[in-house]
């Protein structure tokens, strides 16, 4: 127990100061302990509270064990404040190191703004809104320009004036399609299962459980299978396109392509768009199939409908037009996803933050536009009489 007060005393003495009267009526401020950044907060307010009084100040550093630039700064500011009041200041018992550091910080004593001025709240808000509107308008213009470039490149490829980059297309097909097979299979299988289960619960109330098959067949081949696969691909590949092209842009690889005389649209964008359109068609087909399998499994297990009967029933109740409509929509969605990803990738400027922001935007806008188009297709085809 006897050691405790000693420890507390030692801790209290890490840094301290005392103020008293020195010879000639001078105020004397004596620091003791470690005058370093870790400890100066303890004394700053105290020494700064001492108002300058005639005839002057003596700063005594005899008790200082260690000093760094922060400590030197406190001493220097003390000197400067008293000097500004027209009073003489003396530095006593300062080590050569302390003198050197104090001289160094004194050389760098000019008030420095640490953050930009806050500005006026209302005007700034209006300015931000205005900028956002301008940026959005610019973005639409840029996208139309981008779409035009892609169409020109695609047209040139079609009539044989430009080369189609087969290798790149195949490579992208693998990245977009083949590697997505397991996750699409699992996702759509589960969706088929869930649709069947929820449908069965509702239809049972009418004793019409057999119509669950109609629900599965029509909902998945025409809407859910396609839409969910598209959302999956937007998340997996749309984001990848934006991030890949975005970091190539940062790395000046896109500039390098243009310098060599290659069109970034032809080399980077077109293969991705083609691959994404083809692969979304195949993935959507595969996904719809998996959803039907999921529904079939549920029907077999819960509704006692054997697979043979399920397939027969599916053929009866699902019109071919549903399947065809789904397959028409899929490549359109694929094109939208790839265009959004590539567009936002090419819009990346400046820093890594921009890549992240553009990637997010690519996915969000791709999914948004896909759903808008889906609604359009739904209305369009029912208008044509395909209910």
């Amino acid at each position: 127990m006897a050691r405790l007060p000693a420890i507390i005393a030692a801790m209290g003495n890490v840094l301290d100061f005392s103020a008293d009267q020195a010879a000639g009526g001078f105020t004397r401020i004596a620091f003791s302990g470690r005058l370093t950044m870790a400890h100066i907060a303890q004394v700053t307010d105290g020494v700064r509270a001492i108002a300058p009084t005639a005839p002057g100040l003596v700063i005594d550093l005899a008790g200082v064990e260690r000093i760094d630039t922060a400590g030197a700064w406190i001493v220097h500011r003390l000197e400067a404040t008293w000097a500004a009041a027209g009073l003489p200041v003396q530095l006593a018992s300062a080590s050569p190191e302390a003198q050197r550091l104090i001289a160094e910080v004194a050389r760098n004593d000019e008030p420095i703004p640490c953050r930009p001025p806050p500005g006026r709240a209302l005007v700034d808000r209006l300015e931000r809104m205005g900028r956002a509107v301008v940026a959005q308008t610019d973005s639409i213009g840029n996208f139309i320009g981008f779409l035009g470039q892609v169409l020109v490149a695609a047209g040139g490829t079609l009539i044989g004036r430009r080369r189609l980059r087969g290798h790149a297309v195949i490579h992208q097909c693998e990245a977009v399609g083949v590697t997505a097979l397991p996750i699409v299979a699992l996702l759509l299988f589960l969706v088929g299962l869930v649709v069947a289960q929820q449908g069965a619960v509702q239809l049972r109330q009418f004793g019409a459980e057999i119509f669950t098959v109609n629900l599965i067949g029509r909902a998945t081949t025409r809407e859910l299978g396609i839409l969910l696969t598209a959302i999956m691909v937007a998340g997996r590949s749309g984001s990848a396109f934006a991030a890949q092209i975005g970091s190539m842009k940062l790395n000046q690889e896109v500039d390098a392509l243009a310098t060599i005389g290659l069109s970034p649209i032809e080399v980077l964008v077109l293969p991705r768009v083609i691959a994404c359109a083809i692969m979304l068609l195949l993935l959507a087909f595969f996904g719809s199939l998996m959803a039907l399998v999921g529904g079939g499994v549920f029907a077999w297990v819960q509704l006692d409908l054997p697979p043979g009967a399920y397939i027969l029933r599916l053929q009866e109740v699902t019109p071919l037009s549903d399947f065809v409509i789904g397959m028409i929509k899929a490549p359109v969605f694929g094109t939208i996803i790839a265009l959004m990803g590539c567009f936002h990738g090419l819009q990346v400027t400046g820093n890594a933050e921009s890549v992240g922001q553009r990637t997010t935007q690519a996915v969000v806008e791709a999914i948004f536009v896909v759903i808008v188009f889906d609604a359009f297709f739904a209305y369009f085809f029912s208008f044509l009489g395909y209910n």
């Binding site: 370093t36 630039t69 703004p113 953050r115």
Partner: protein, 267 residues
Amino acid sequence: MPLSATLPDDADVVIRIRGLANRFGRQTVHENLDLDVRRGEILGLVGGSGSGKSVLMRSIIGLRPPQAGSITILGQDPATLGPEATRDLRRRWGVLFQEGALFSALTVAENIEVPMREFLNLPPALMDELAGYKVQMVGLPPDAGAKYPSQLSGGMKKRAGLARALALDPLLLFLDEPTAGLDPISAAAFDDLIRVLKETLGLTIFLITHDLDTLHAICDRVAVLGDKHVLAAGTIAELLQFDHPWVQEYFAGPRGRAALANPQQAA
């Protein structure tokens, strides 16, 4: 032996590396590497591209645990310390990365305040004052304090990075290619700044560089990295006597001779 990578046992050593090994998969970058850094010196580390200079620095500052060997910094081995003690040790060195590595969402002054905020409990007004003189100490103009990193030139970013590295008044400073990418005038000014700061703040500096002018102008000793270990360490005059093809090519090649011809240019 004057060119030995290690100093005598009684030397006042800040960093002591013994038997260090670094491997990436099957590729060995360092094997049985020894190196000593004396207190208060500027040690330049040179070596060909891919010789593992940056990996060595990352090992020393604890960003990459080595596969074997020991690193003692300021008398302590970070590998044997707990997280608290490691934090305390890390406070005692500052690192300047190649491009400055400033936090882009913060102003220069706020960048400098980050370590203070993290480690110390200082009133905000005092932190602003301390950040203010650090900004001027590294030779930035007063209006740079409120600027964001994207508004700064390459040379100013490095100065701001240096100010952040010096935020807590470290004993040890690590600089990774401080003058790379700067024009000769800015590079010479930066060399000057490093030397002045070393003298006023009593720093020990570990410096990776390819800049022969920097080596001549400010380094007390130079360590040569090659063949997976430190081939030699000594003053440039001593290294010129060292009989190794790479070292001879490096210091006695056309660029080396040009830098040697007017060693006072950066001073």
